[in-house]
Symmetry: C2
Subunit: 588 residues, 2 copies
């Protein structure tokens, strides 16, 4: 390992490392002025760098010119201080360096600073926009700095884990070929090939498969991907994937390898032992949670509610689909006000429910929005059928199956958020398996790949691939899997097709003509003719992995220089107009 | 560390791991058919994967249908074999698995293969073009596969070294802003901001400086860079840099840190202990080797050749500049034929010398192209002045200083190559220091930054920055440094300017108006107003580091999917025409 005692000219120590053991040592520190306090004959500077904060003391009686110089330092000035480590009389237990201070002997102002446009504190007074414009100041704040450092740890340990298993990190090109399937590509004009364009990769999917055909056996790459989509909150036009592929494996190998990776990352970085990951089919996840990435920290599975139908209540009896869930853990059930608020919430156009039915089991008996149509006994029996007890509330929605599942899924999450039913510091992983291979798109009257066009059907459903019946095609399950942690999809992947005929048939089902398939994916169809091994892989969103491990709800601060919702980098002011000479050279 | 005993379905072992100790074990192997040999009642398949080759034996008498099936396998078929490990009667000492073979019990053809268009051997019969088109087959060959695996090792150990020193890997954006300074940018139209463009970074230079202003202290990134240049041999439009930056350092800190990195990489990966790196100024390198990246494995320093001038030989006496070098180590000096060939070589337009003078010191006395003008004694005295001995030859060029240095530098390397004067397996590192800050461009009548516009002058030359005299400006030395190994520049960097005034003055010297500087680099000039620390950095070409460590002369095979000299990826056929719908969406 390298020599850690490399020469250091501008400092002997960082601002985070001095302790009581170093008292009387002469040291040099460099950093930023976090704050300056003048107390009569004494001045104190809190000096900050990436590693921490150390207090520097200046004494007017001992060295008045030095103290005067210190008093001229504003916030964020860059200074170098030489002095002696000294025990503090009033210690600061909240700070690792809080037992000591530096009695300054020399002070060197390395650079001045204007007054920053917002405070460099954990809780800053700067709004999002101004912090993005001055991102170099924002990064000095602990919450942002710590997230960027955390990301480094996640990437480093990911590489360590995968390398130890024989994965090779192999870089794939960024200037590739545009394919209309999937999201929109960013494209790049080629000067040397007029009229032709490169595309930036949405993922290295085809290249990693080509590497498997090339015998590289185990590939990974922490790699940038690009999608020119209209940006929703927390979407970035460029983002980073942990991209992986293995040859000579089946699904089980991949699940074990990457379950192992998540366990390793959580153990090494946040000291959390993840349990073995439960598994759930896509169908079960949808029926039980209305969602293909259920947050298992929350209970409240969807219930069938036996005994609700057939009691003469038309709304229920005529409903195509009825589901509800039991809310537990709220003191003496919901108040009427809470129920009304939830009803308004589900009726908002974003959710779109017609109304919300409830059955409350209180100390004063059963209260329900449908008590007109059911006896207390009937309601108790419904409650019994789904283990509702005193203090619990059943919330019920009706409508079409898709609507009810979607609306109830949102309601479940909202109820959990409003009532603090999501335990903190808990990690609930899950594999979701057996996704549909295709989704029917009613607008375009054709199938779209649910994962991507290279995903293999499950072996059991392979025979359905030759069917001409859309209902049968729709029922084909994919050898695809998503890794879900606390309700966030961290990664997804599949066993790939490695047979040229099957791949061609899949392109056909997706509405590609032979010519289209050939012109866009000819190279991979060609590769499949020269000994493609069985293979499969997975890709994780690095920012999401970081955010979920730290219980954070936003990925933006894990990115050093994120773009805003218009795809703009407001710090450097990009994109921007371009020199006409440049466009001319590109024949544009 | 992760559990290496993860489940393996399609194989129990790789084709590289079985040894005599495993005899009698039942195993499953999967891989590609390297070759098939039929010897009467026996058939042998050499089965290959990334890890090696294992021989599989099929016996017609024991299992004729299995043997028949094996005989149907062509080269590059993908098969799975179950069988028993057995000691071979005729062992193959050239192969790690050569003591054993697998007596096949089951054979499963996982995929067929057409006959590959070239042989998958260390020495292939395929030309460059066909191997690039079928890169997935080329990658199966050991020479390519091994280079890609080597690159993974270099990247991994680089990360290990830098992380252990507290460097953080921080990703910077790929969609940035175009700047006309430097090479040509690749640009990307923004759909959401019509008429505006992103550029792909030529390097993360400004971002890593911004990260230093942001207090990240030690940054690195193994990062893709893009340059839309006309491609010479061994140049790629996208290439990978090991990009580094440190705050609160001076030049010495950086030299030690990255000398340490190269030593670490060589020790860990190729088990070579590099010596401490000698240092040489740019001026000395140019005067001594005509070259700012001299190959110190070769001797033949340029010599002043005392006693040549003033003897009445007009060509010499009128020459602006004269230099030569002594060739040693060639048996009894050069033959006349060799001298004639070298003379023709230096007179080619690529070199452009008018002629070549020589003085040979042979057993039969001194032979020289200039003996008409010099006595043997005079020639011997010139030889003495530069330690030429019997068997040596002095080669001499005349002309303008720049021409002579450039031509003599090429001649020195050519002589070394022709006469095998470059020792193999030797590593000669060097720091080249004190580059000029600016270069005068006679065409544009302005200075260009020799390194880039953010490079700091040496402290000793700082006072010259305010001069109005171009001669004085030209003499300013930069705090820049190149790391050279065996005549290849592996990396270069500099201490940066961190003062806004100095940076503005430098832009002024480079011919930027205030408005141009502001519109292109306003964000970094702005950042310098908020407490920029002293900082500096370096960047290495990852492919070059790999190639030089392995003594390879080409970087292309270290890149999994390289582009050709027209910037084309011939495997995927990119760049290519684009959907008119896509262009319309981009307002193009």
């Amino acid at each position: 390992m390298p020599d850690n005692k490399l020469r250091k000219m501008l400092r002997t120590h960082t601002c985070g490392e001095l302790r009581i053991d170093q008292v009387n040592q002469e040291v040099i520190l460099s950093g930023w002025v976090q704050s300056l306090r003048n107390l009569g004959g004494l001045s104190f500077i809190d000096l900050r760098d990436r590693y921490g904060i150390t207090q520097i003391a200046f004494n007017m009686e001992v060295n008045s010119s030095l103290c005067d110089k210190a008093r001229k330092c504003g916030r964020e000035f860059v200074i170098q201080v030489k002095g002696k480590v000294s025990e503090r009389s009033s210690k600061n237990a909240n700070r690792p360096t809080g037992d000591i201070e530096i009695i300054a002997q020399e002070l060197n102002i390395l650079n001045e600073s204007k007054v920053p446009p917002f405070t460099i504190e954990d809780e800053s007074d700067g709004g999002e926009d101004i912090r993005m414009k001055y991102r170099y100041l924002d990064i000095r704040r602990n919450p942002v700095k710590d997230k960027i450092m955390f990301r480094h740890q996640v990437a480093l340990h990911t590489r360590k884990y995968l390398s130890s298993l024989g994965f090779l990190e192999i870089e794939t090109p960024y200037l590739i070929k545009s394919t209309p399937e999937g999201a929109r590509d960013f494209i790049v004009p080629s000067r040397m090939n007029p009229g032709q364009w490169y595309a930036l990769p949405q993922s290295p999917q085809t290249f990693k498969q080509i590497l498997m055909v090339g015998g590289m056996d185990k590939y990974f790459q922490i790699v940038r991907c690009f999608r020119d989509e209209d940006l929703r909150a927390d979407r970035q036009p460029e983002f980073t994937q942990i991209d992986c592929e293995m040859a000579f494996v089946d699904r089980e190998d991949i699940l074990q390898t990457f379950e192992g990776m998540m366990k390793y990352l959580c153990k090494e970085i946040i000291n959390v032992e993840l349990p073995d990951f439960p598994r759930m089919s896509y169908d079960e996840a949808m029926e039980t949670y209305g969602n293909d990435k259920p947050d298992l920290r929350i209970d409240m599975k969807f219930q069938y509610l036996e005994g609700l139908r057939g009691k003469g209540f038309q709304v229920i009896d005529n409903a195509e689909y009825i589901r509800g869930f039991v809310v537990k853990g709220i003191e003496s059930a919901f108040t009427n006000k809470e129920i009304n608020e939830l009803t308004d919430w589900v009726k908002r156009p974003q959710i779109g429910a017609k109304g919300l039915m409830y059955i409350k089991f209180t100390n004063e008996g059963v209260k329900s929005s449908i008590s007109k149509f059911y006896s207390e006994e009937e309601l108790l029996s419904i409650g019994n059928s789904c283990s509702a007890e005193k203090g619990d509330t059943i919330l019920i929605l009706t409508g079409s199956k898709n609507q009810v599942l979607k609306q109830l899924s949102e309601l479940r999450l909202e109820v959990a958020r409003r009532n603090n039913l999501i335990p903190e510091g808990i990690f609930k992983p899950l594999w979701v398996l057996d996704f549909p291979l295709h989704e029917w798109n009613e607008d375009e009257k054709r199938f779209f790949a649910m994962h991507h066009p290279f995903t293999s059907p499950l072996a059991e459903d392979l025979h359905k691939m030759s069917s001409a019946d859309n209902k049968i095609i729709e029922s084909i399950r994919a050898a695809a899997y998503d890794l879900v942690l606390n309700g966030t999809e961290l990664g997804g992947g599949s066993i790939r097709i490695h047979d040229k005929e099957l791949q061609s048939r899949n392109f056909e089902l997706l509405g590609f003509t032979k010519e289209e398939a050939e012109s866009q994916f000819g190279f991979i169809l060609g590769a499949f003719e020269y000994g493609a091994p069985p293979h499969g892989g997975i890709a994780f969103g690095l920012d999401r992995v970081c955010a979920v491990m730290q219980g954070s709800t936003t990925i933006r601060d894990y990115i050093a220089f994120p773009k805003n919702n218009m795809g703009r980098d407001v710090m450097i002011d990009a994109p921007s107009g371009i020199d006409s000479k440049q466009l001319k050279e590109l024949n544009l």
